[in-house]
Amino acid sequence: MDTIEKQREKIVAKKEVDHIVVRFSGDSGDGMQLTGMQFTDTAALYGNDLSTFPDFPSEIRAPIGTVAGVSGFQVHFGSREIFTPGDSYDVLVAMNAAALKVDLPKLRRGGIIIVNTQGFDKKNLGLAKYPPDADPLNDGSLSNYTIHAIDITKLTKECLVDSGLGTKEVERSKNMFVLGLLFWMFDKEMDHTIKFINDKFTKKPEIAEANIKVLQAGWNYGDNTEIFTTQFKIGPAKLPPGTYRNITGNQAIVVGLLAASEQSGLPLFIGSYPITPATDILHELSKYKANGVKTFQAEDEIAGIASAIGASYTGSLAVTTTSGPGMALKTEAMGLATMLEIPLLIIDVQRGGPSTGLPTKTEQSDLLMAMFGRHGEAPLPVLAASTPSDCFNTVFEACKIAVEHMTPVILLSDGYIANGSEPWRFPNAEDLGTISNSFLQKANGADEKLLPYKRNEFFVRPWIKPGTKGLEHRIGGLEKQDETGNVSYEAANHEKMTMLRAAKIRAIEDFIPPAAPDTGADHGRLLVLGWGSTYGAIKTAVKEMLAEGEDVAHLHLHHINPFPKNLGELLNNYDKVLIPEMNSGQLLQLIRAKYLVPATGLSKVQGQPFTTAEIKEKMLQLLKA
């Protein structure tokens, strides 16, 4: 009887690195998003800094095995500060031939490929449109990479041979094998994922058990087989002390709205129609019924904003969320809210356009629509969030401006930061600012007369709730007489009111922080001016260039209307200004028009965020010129 355990002969090298990018890629049904998120949570809880980029098709289940159905999740994690999901990746997990085909171009030379060989049979190669007789795993075309070809499907099946589960359920667990293997490769604990699986399948313990078994098998496969000889060690990042959580942009918007409701004492109402990539905000808020949140899934985009206008009229903190096509439908109602001068938050999570465009891909092409997309002259404050966690600050500030300045406010996010995540050192509730609201209780004019459009020194009119005794009055979309709010067609009054509405928005510049460079000095040879989700790529590029001794700086705009007061002055402190945007130059137009500076644009309209390299290349070009 052999009682001696087999001695472990394998020698594993532990390699310390300070950051790694992993791309999980597979068919839409392969569970790559879940695998990526589990890996991310584990890295986050361990203390890595990170940035993620879920990149998936708009079809829920495109034909299996095709290029159209490839769903990817990219995570960049490290022991140093991380600002982007990474220009290229170090490790690519490809569950089938289509995934390899789509994602190979951005794998670093010398990078590691892990493939599921069953996804590379003749049928899958054909579906991925490889030429007949192609054999990418064996024909030498991947010789620049380290390739681990594993029959993950078979190993998963063997592991669950006695589980009593059906073929479908067994095959569905194969992503856990990958996850287990990756946990081994990066020396991560599996506790968090095991708990997640147990929580998720409380009512189906046999499924939970199977998933955990496969997860463990993946880990063991890395640990035991000879083919894996290196484990990577990425220590915790030296982030500022504090307590952190991982958060996506859409989640941060939800938390921000709940915080704004609490800090203003106003009940929260959201009127929205589902649209990618904004829908998660409505999903999440719908769970907060116990906090009194009223969520209204409207019959269309117009009813979304219209119901929010109704709720705001009665004294709620009212929000509508959408993306480009919905934004277009809401424009008439935005004009009404502008005329009514009531608080309202319009959140546009941008995506590729025009029309249906690229629903699941990112773009910053709604900026000019946010600025000017209403008939008549109807200026509104426009704010833009720059990172997933920054969505919290931005939405809170947007609510504050809306309520304190009695105006609709547009907040621009985009698909990249809406779905992407990063660690967030969340604030203490007691450190949050307040949002002051005051409802008019009695007539504000001479002789007990109510003047609904009488303004304070910042041109702000009072908020008057229906139900307030003695203050019955009518408002509407027709032009108002100054102060009384009565209908007026008088020529001079219309001009006066147009100017007053604009002055009210302009006056907000006194309430927003001055512009200051995020990185680099407040003068120099080249300023990179950004807005929105380009933050991470620009910051990384500018930091690297500074380290290389270049005289460059990064300024990121959070307020696009009104601009910070000192912006023009600051722009003149630099020899050159570069504006990278995921559009064909919209902020560029605004900046040139307003400040007459010869700024240069850098456009990318590919549904994909900028890489650091792209920005650096343009910076170098400008510095040399």
């Binding site: 002390p241 938390v255 119901s307 109704g310 229906p466 139900g467």
Partner: protein
């Protein structure tokens, strides 16, 4: 001696509901009568004046909100129902009234209209139907009869009109009624009923446009024709009409049949008794519209066609919020900020 007195309910008059805005409808417009009936009925409803809210869309009808000395919003074309939904959801204490026209409700606002009926907010929806676009000076509307000659249909409209009560019932309205501008007493009664009904009350008001569609409904109010052309519905009463109450309606299976009550045959004891709660029969009554049922001409029904008590949207919303408050309790803000999974860096 000082005593504590409970504040009496406001004693209001019609004048209290009249705003200081000059009413600018055309002379002879049916809207004047509707405004008057609303202002007549409102003081008796037992609602504090400040709790009334009028939301209107765009069109002649929608200027209504400016003329009521209540809270009011004259909004944008077709969207009054959606705005009113937000008002009622956010503050169920308010008595919310929508004023809209046939174009505003059935054309540009058709989507909001059907969804409001289905959702059943406790909102009173007054649709002034003049079967014409008036504010834009005379184009056919979605309720104009086929063949209508207007500026946009010089050779006659080729479109089939909506039958509003049929549409409302199809959209699951819980209260459907019809009245007309020239019958003030009837209208007052319907307005009271609409107010009493908890749920969306759809009231179609036939309203004369003396400029662009004069006399469209005179057959239902003129002495000579009224009794032949209009069928007055009363709950629990038989369907009888005609100059000498000499005609009745019976149900032959699911087919309504007009019977002559003078000449024997099928007698009074077989008459169809109106039951506001019977949806199947309400659907049939709603179809008494021009030549329904094998081309027979039926009188147009006025009164409450259908009334059903079912929970309102805002009640369901409040109940769900209360239940979750009990089950989960309010999450403190700090807990929302931190989420479920955190880590600390020292």
């Amino acid at each position: 001696m000082e005593t504590l007195t409970l504040e009496k309910p406001q004693s209001l008059t019609a004048k209290d509901f009249s705003s200081d805005m000059e009413v600018k409808w055309c002379p002879g417009c049916g809207d004047y009568s509707i405004l008057k009936q609303v202002q007549t009925v409102f003081p008796d409803l037992g609602i504090p004046k400040e709790n009334f809210v009028f939301i209107s869309g765009i069109g002649c009808s929608s200027r209504f909100s400016y003329y009521m000395d209540t809270y009011g919003m004259h909004s944008i074309h077709g969207r009054a129902a959606a705005i009113a939904s937000g008002v009622k959801a956010a503050n169920p204490e308010l008595s919310v009234w929508v004023v809209s026209g046939d174009g505003d409700s059935m054309s540009i606002g058709g989507n909001h209209f059907i969804h409001l009926m289905r959702k059943n907010f406790d909102i009173n929806y007054l649709m002034f139907n003049n079967q014409i676009y008036s504010l834009t000076k005379g184009q056919y509307s979605p309720t104009s009869e086929k063949g209508k000659i207007t500026k946009t249909s010089p050779y006659g409209s080729i479109e089939e009109p909506f039958n509003p009560s049929e549409l409302a019932l199809g959209a699951k309205a819980s209260f459907v009624a019809r009245t007309l501008d020239r019958d003030p007493k009837h209208m007052q009664g319907i307005l009271r009923r609409a107010h009493q009904h908890r749920g969306t009350s759809f009231v179609e008001v036939y309203q004369n446009c003396p400029v662009f569609n004069d006399g469209a409904f005179f057959a239902f109010s003129d002495k000579e024709t009224k009794k032949e052309e209009a069928l007055q519905l009363e709950d629990g009463k038989p369907l009888v009409f005609g100059n000498d109450d000499d005609k009745g309606i019976i149900l032959d299976g699911l087919t309504p049949v007009i019977v002559d009550l003078k000449e024997g045959g099928r007698g009074r004891d077989e008459l169809w008794i109106h039951d506001e709660k019977d949806k199947t029969k309400a659907n049939l009554i709603a179809r008494f519209f021009d030549t329904a049922f094998d081309g027979h001409h039926f009188p147009r029904p006025f009164g409450v066609i259908y009334a059903e008590e079912r929970p309102t949207y805002e009640d369901n919303m409040a109940a769900q919020i209360e239940l979750q408050k009990e089950k989960k309790g309010k999450q403190p803000l700090q807990k929302i900020l931190s989420g479920d999974k955190t880590w600390t860096i020292f």
